[in-house]
Symmetry: D2
Subunit: 335 residues, 4 copies
């Protein structure tokens, strides 16, 4: 069996996760990595990766490279995807492709023409808890979905520097929930209304962003979704989905650190949800990258496409417009 | 100890509950009831009530009557409250006072001048689960409230005839949630946006109403609330509240029929929430009417005032306007 | 409809509960009460009971008295039941009839001859949570029962004075669990082995009793039960049952004070079980006494008979013997 | 850093798990494996293990071998441990060392003299849920332990052939619970009483074994433990611990397949516990073997010693004696 030769570009937090998971796959050979930082490259060397580079060009131009996993900063994504596509490399790219919708469309055109596969890193689609919700809905266990509720809260805000360049809460955080809203019931979104505030940190407000938001989504068929976001839930990372349908309701609840319960005179104490996305979605990242590898090797459809990335961005931009203008915004107003 | 002499007007479902609860209070004497229906009057007679009448005037004009509990149809409330107030009777009236905001204001003026007490029947304020949420917030256990979430779903829609006269979902059902939204964090509401659909029953649509709704509320201080409603949750009556604050989160969950769990090869089955409001709020009704009686006897402030009734109506009308015009509506647009 | 004329003897904690519940029944008239204490009698007078007595004889000899509810101290039970039976009064008596097995047998003989009904106050049989476990088993939902587990723990030990006269943990506390063990699977017990210690309070040990115990019961058909007891669970009253069967498992869990959950950085806190038996079994007491009244009025079988009382006592005495001799004891060794 | 050179003997279900986990450790080199079956050896070859043998002698005699992991059939353990110890190899051996207590003592003597480390494979000690219970107890969160309750049930019985050679339920299954009982409160056991039956399968009875058991354990300090076992819980693998102490109670509950809840008109369905020990204890196996490796490399004490293996066997044999003679048996009766 021929192994898939893969390169990993960008060895930050997510890049290292993908690298580790790829190394464990028996049908993959990680033949090179790229990162401007020597310490990061050493991490890969210790894991047995032979070729390490400081520039993307060096990595992507390795002849025998079949596929590339792009985990570099957001503002490089579009460029690197275009380069890779033109070289005929299969592409996994972390979200988002770009914050500019026209740029994303252009990149997707290049990818289309090059006939390579492009997968976008919406890892939550591969989470066991959420997958089972989707399966339950697909199996008709709750009938027709009427109300989708997504709770998505971080344990603490990212650094201010990050917020200033991320495109703001709707593009750096809620974008996952927008994708989930489409994924979980397999329907496109028609209109969005948001209400957002900076209730947690004055500095976030000064940086032009919000930290608390609630969102109403109308799908094209009148199903409704609600999302609520916070950049800081004191009790930790909160990731829940609830879907009410004509025949019942299905809930994905938080995954706790453990299932212990301590009873004393003050009450019954149980443990908190897993600390943050690295813990909660550890398994999802494994399944995600495995899906990419399998799709490439067996030439099967990718389940999170460039189009999915485009839609989430479009919804995110509509959300920003809604916040600014305090009115419901049709998704197709963003073009 | 002198007992409070009370009359109960209207012996429908709620009227009977109040009658039963009043009879059990040691500081109350139910001296008369009124209902156009003889069967209903017999119900009271069997409970030991001596004076039974077919008209409100007969009941309210009993000299020794201290207080009146009004549970007649909505369209009689305003009139009966005015009559009672002018006669100097203390008043408990089921919500809403009226569906017309000017009429409500006029009635409240009459009540104000007459110096009698008026309590509006928002029973959920007296529910143990919700009370403890409020207490927890008051005690600072979750810090400053950021996001309030209210889930309120009925097990099945009311009769179509009821819907046609009720003022619609926002005035017959969500009005409880509007009151709860104000009550739970003790803040006034500034603006509302709703999205509603008739997803459950075509006939509800034809009757000009909706059966599924989600609502975003902005309080005057930027706290945000979400309400989600359904006229039919297949699994029963769903009454939950969740408040996220700067220091934590507090949840009031459903009260189940029992706490049993059945494990078999298909999964772990637990019991459904209590069937409907009569079961779920049985204790709340007792505490509610006891609060009215105590307030009157000890001349203490009523905790659910005519003003509270007015505000809920105003919010309900703002919700209707938002649905119609698909835009956020300021509460003070309704006047 | 003729009302049942009932007298209540003994107005301690339990006597008052029965009195209150009887007063609310529409087919009952409480025509008299008895207690040596005037304050207790005043309690009844305020509730509207006309005849109050200081001696049992006065009460039981009222001609029109149909039935008597005996809640006096344990050492009077046998005597009072005999007197009542000979006078042809229907009898409800709190457990136990007596601590001496021969005395109990003699009393049951008298009752048998007099043809009156005798119900023993094992209130837990009427608890909603446990009833549903029994129903589930009866419906075959878990197949054949293999292992029954009963957890029964008090929030704090009774007064030492009580312990000295109660017959000890197995007769004052576990006796409820012995009855439950028989009731829940409808099977007689063959053999018992216990292990008990005084781990909570030295004074309990000095009083010749234990405060912590675990018990293995073998039914006549080889089903097995485990009971664990503590006189002091720091987190409150703990009343659970779990039955493993060939097809599944059913659990009755604790009923909590409320269903709230508080999330903060320390964990997720939920509320404690209801404080003690008065709260937890409030509804059960109502259903229990109603069952007695209905059985008498409609001449239907009593569901907790003198025989049930006898069996629990027998098992309790076998438990004491097992503790003393550190060996499994056959129930029929106690005679 | 020098890597520890390890060999794995026996590539059945557990052997493969240890092999996989060892391969992932950066401070380990698996230099050889042994199994009589070629297919099993191929499994190791594909994982990159160079030296594969059909006999234990070949493997253990590799010069550079530092440590050996023994997962061969039970009846070979004692022999292989002795051989390894005499050759100065560090030893990890699956439980039990042997079913004969004298043989175990002899082996432990050999190990003692050879100064090598010996770790016994009680994997549950490394389970996250149970570890946290122990930590909680160590931290004094529940005060002095009074009652320990261990529930341990398999989803289905092992093959009859296995049962015939395993030493029976107490030695093949409960032995884990005996070790847990000692581990969780760090106390030695004084006396045991068991009640066991074959309620699930007649064939198990004919094979001289039982499939359902409850056990009372008295520790040397009068703390009490209860264990309940079943070879077949219809709802799957059930692994719970509950410890009641003077200040509270701590529970380790089952780990479910997921945390979803499905609400419909029949009830609220949640998912079953993880299917069997491979799923439930997957992480525990990793931590276990890592502990062995770390102890060897850093010359630190092993946390599950040969003495622990000896004690569990002794308790298991006492349990068998108790079942046979239907009486409490002192652990030191087994010698």
């Amino acid at each position: 069996m021929k192994k898939l030769s893969i390169g990993v570009a960008g060895l930050g937090r997510i890049g290292k996760i993908h690298l580790d998971n790829l190394i464990e796959l028996s049908n993959v050979k990680v033949i090179g990595v790229m990162d401007p930082d020597s310490v990061a490259l050493n991490y890969a060397k210790e894991k047995g990766v032979k070729s390490t580079f400081k520039t993307f060009d060096e990595l992507v131009n390795i002849d025998q490279l079949d596929a590339i996993v792009i985990c570099t900063p957001t503002n490089t994504h579009a460029n690197y995807v275009e380069i890779s596509a033109k070289l005929g490399k299969q592409i996994f790219c972390e979200k988002p492709l770009d914050l500019d919708i026209q740029r994303v469309k252009d990149v997707l055109n290049v990818v289309d023409k090059s006939k390579v596969k492009l997968m976008i890193g919406f890892n939550r689609r591969f989470d066991n808890e959420f997958r089972k919700v989707k399966t339950s809905i697909n199996n008709g266990e709750i009938g027709n979905p009427h109300i989708v509720k997504i709770t998505s809260r971080d344990p603490s805000p990212p650094p201010l520097e990050y917020i200033k360049n991320s495109g703001g809460l709707f593009l750096d955080m809620t974008i996952h929930d927008f994708d989930m809203a489409r994924f979980i019931v397999d329907k496109e979104i028609d209109e969005i209304y948001v209400k957002g505030e900076a209730l947690i940190d004055e500095k976030i407000k000064k940086a032009g962003d919000i930290d608390t938001a609630v969102i109403i989504i109308k799908y094209i068929d009148s199903t409704i979704a609600i999302i609520d976001n916070s950049r800081k839930a004191a009790y930790g990372y909160d990731q829940r989905i609830e879907v009410l349908g004509s025949k019942g309701m299905i809930q994905a609840n938080n995954v706790k650190v453990d299932n212990n319960k301590l009873y004393n005179q003050n009450g019954i104490m149980s443990s908190l949800p897993m600390e943050f996305f690295l813990e909660r979605y550890m398994e999802a990242y494994k399944i995600e990258i495995q899906h990419f590898v399998d799709s490439v090797i067996n030439n099967k459809p990718i389940s999170v496409t460039g189009f999915d990335g485009l839609k989430s961005l479009q919804i995110g931009l509509a959300a920003k417009k809604s916040l600014l203008e305090n009115r419901p915004v049709k998704i197709n107003e963003i073009d």
